[in-house]
Symmetry: C2
Subunit: 324 residues, 2 copies
């Protein structure tokens, strides 16, 4: 309840001196510094940070937009962000969107309201032109393989990574390949589907509509995929899967039905998260953690230079295990 003025009065100094002590400024005599510190302790004082923020004009907090934290991809990414944020003494404020645009706008509005100094999108649902309106409100960073030059962005080249997966499956003798993606309408999924169709055309293979499966995000979705597979008239011999969680669910379910992996059906996924190692899933390693670190550094650069808009792409690599 105590404030800086009260401290000043009791310590027999001015508020300026108290503020100087609080912020470790030079030019405060040891005697007065001592007196101030003593009073602060006595009154159990601590500064009202809202006032500090208002006065300073910034908060040292940045928003992180993500669909859910209840998924290894995003929690890994977040750890990368957090690791870097700590170095810069900056707090992360999370915005769990569940892919709801409304929630993303909430983050952007907090940016406008000076509650946070910037926003990092680990995933985005709002259209680009609406995002653009917030360009001047503070640093914004995108974790996406994007086709724009307004904001800095960090990602892997999704088309290339998807191609790598397809080519590996083909090299292992598969030509009847199905794919499992997240939200089919998302930018990344669109790119992946395009890549898929192109590649299938090259090897001269028609694509069955039911071989493109959406909404594959968590382990339970893998079960759903296998159930669907069992009912297919035209069965693929391999699946290229958007993330390890779904693969894990698929393989577990397949095993239940006595299907051999990769004998009856091969599975290749993305991420190289712990579960893929445990279950010996062949996967394409995505440096998810690093993605986060780089994203945060991009935020810092953008803070220092409001024109900074570099597109950074990180490497990925195939991890051969036992599911293909």
């Amino acid at each position: 309840m105590a404030n800086i003025r009260e401290i000043a009065r009791k310590a027999g100094v001015s508020v300026t001196t108290v503020s100087r002590v609080l912020n470790n400024h030079p030019y405060v005599s040891p005697a007065k510094r001592e007196a101030v510190l003593k009073t602060i302790k006595e009154l159990d004082y601590s500064p009202n940070i809202n006032a500090v923020h208002l006065s300073r004009g910034k908060t040292n907090m940045v928003g992180v937009v993500l669909p859910t934290i209840n998924h290894p991809y995003f929690s890994e990414l977040l750890e990368g962000l957090a690791k870097e944020a700590i170095k810069h003494n900056i707090q992360l404020v999370l915005f769990q969107t569940g892919y709801q645009q409304e929630k993303e706008f909430e983050a952007l509005e907090q940016l406008r309201g000076h509650l946070i100094d910037g926003v990092i999108f680990t995933s985005r649902a709002i259209p680009f032109n609406l995002l653009l309106k917030y360009k001047d409100d503070g640093p914004i960073v995108l974790c996406e393989d994007s086709d724009q030059d307004e904001f800095p962005s960090i990602s892997i080249k999704h088309e290339d990574a998807f191609n790598l997966g397809l080519e590996y499956l083909i090299s292992m003798g598969h030509d009847r390949i199905a794919i499992c993606l997240g939200r089919l309408e998302g930018a990344n999924s669109q790119k992946r589907q395009k890549t898929y169709h192109q590649k299938m055309e090259i090897i001269g293979h028609l694509v069955h509509d039911e071989w493109v499966i959406g909404d594959c995000l968590v382990i339970q979705d893998g079960k759903r995929v296998m159930d669907r597979y069992l009912k297919m008239e035209e069965k693929p011999t391999a699946f290229l899967v958007g993330n390890d969680q779904v693969s894990a669910g698929m393989i577990t379910e397949a095993t239940k039905y006595g299907l051999a992996v990769p004998g009856d059906v091969a599975v290749l996924s993305f991420d190289n998260h712990p579960i893929s190692e445990i279950m010996a899933i062949t996967t394409i390693d995505i440096p998810t953690n690093q993605l986060g670190s780089y994203a945060f550094r991009a935020f810092i650069k953008r803070s220092e230079n409001s024109k900074y808009a570099e597109k950074i792409t990180l490497p990925f690599k195939l991890i051969k295990r036992k599911s293909v």
Copy 2:
């Protein structure tokens, strides 16, 4: 960049009127309201929330202390919290501690600094007497089976739940039972160990030191546990495991070595999270999500009544599947 004063000037009204429009107060003529709204739109104005907070004396944000979000237990709990927080139009600010006390103090310091209106501990590492010092700085809620009356708390009765697990294993013919816990020094773990030793004594069975395994939190820890099991001279016939993740890792690893579950070794865990269903793990359901909801409601009650300190315990139940 624009502020309320500028809006007032351009709209030809007082700052008070602008503030009234902003906060939907009555007693503003439609004409002036219109003028203000128009100017706000023109200047692309939005309020500086720090100033609002400073002026109002509160922020509508509460801190959530948790070891990591990269774990189903905590992300589930968090979802329960978030669901409720949304209803009250309150932002959650996460403090990932990694069980570092320092991080928990950070949350408490933000409470003191009026940056957040309260703190919810989903897990706690700092000693109680230090926590107590923050009692008057704002509402604090504990998610723990605690023995205190200063703060409201939400939890299940860990002793009872652990007993239920032990009794079920015993009823299935096991008497050589090992346990896997999280941080052995934590309050919950202590209670569970005590329960374990008591029960083992009742059935007249000595406990081997190596049958109490700590640091079991994630799926990889399950692998470690099984590796250790294989080297034991005195092998248990069953494991009571602190959470489903660890069970999943154990079972996967056991299967690799040709061990039958539950034939060679039975596994019973806690949580009833998705992976336990997928892998048919027998588990004790913890209403993790509800735990979060209740915790948030306790925060609200404590905000309204600074004496409120109810201890709420939620029910748990055994889910019989195929790992015991």
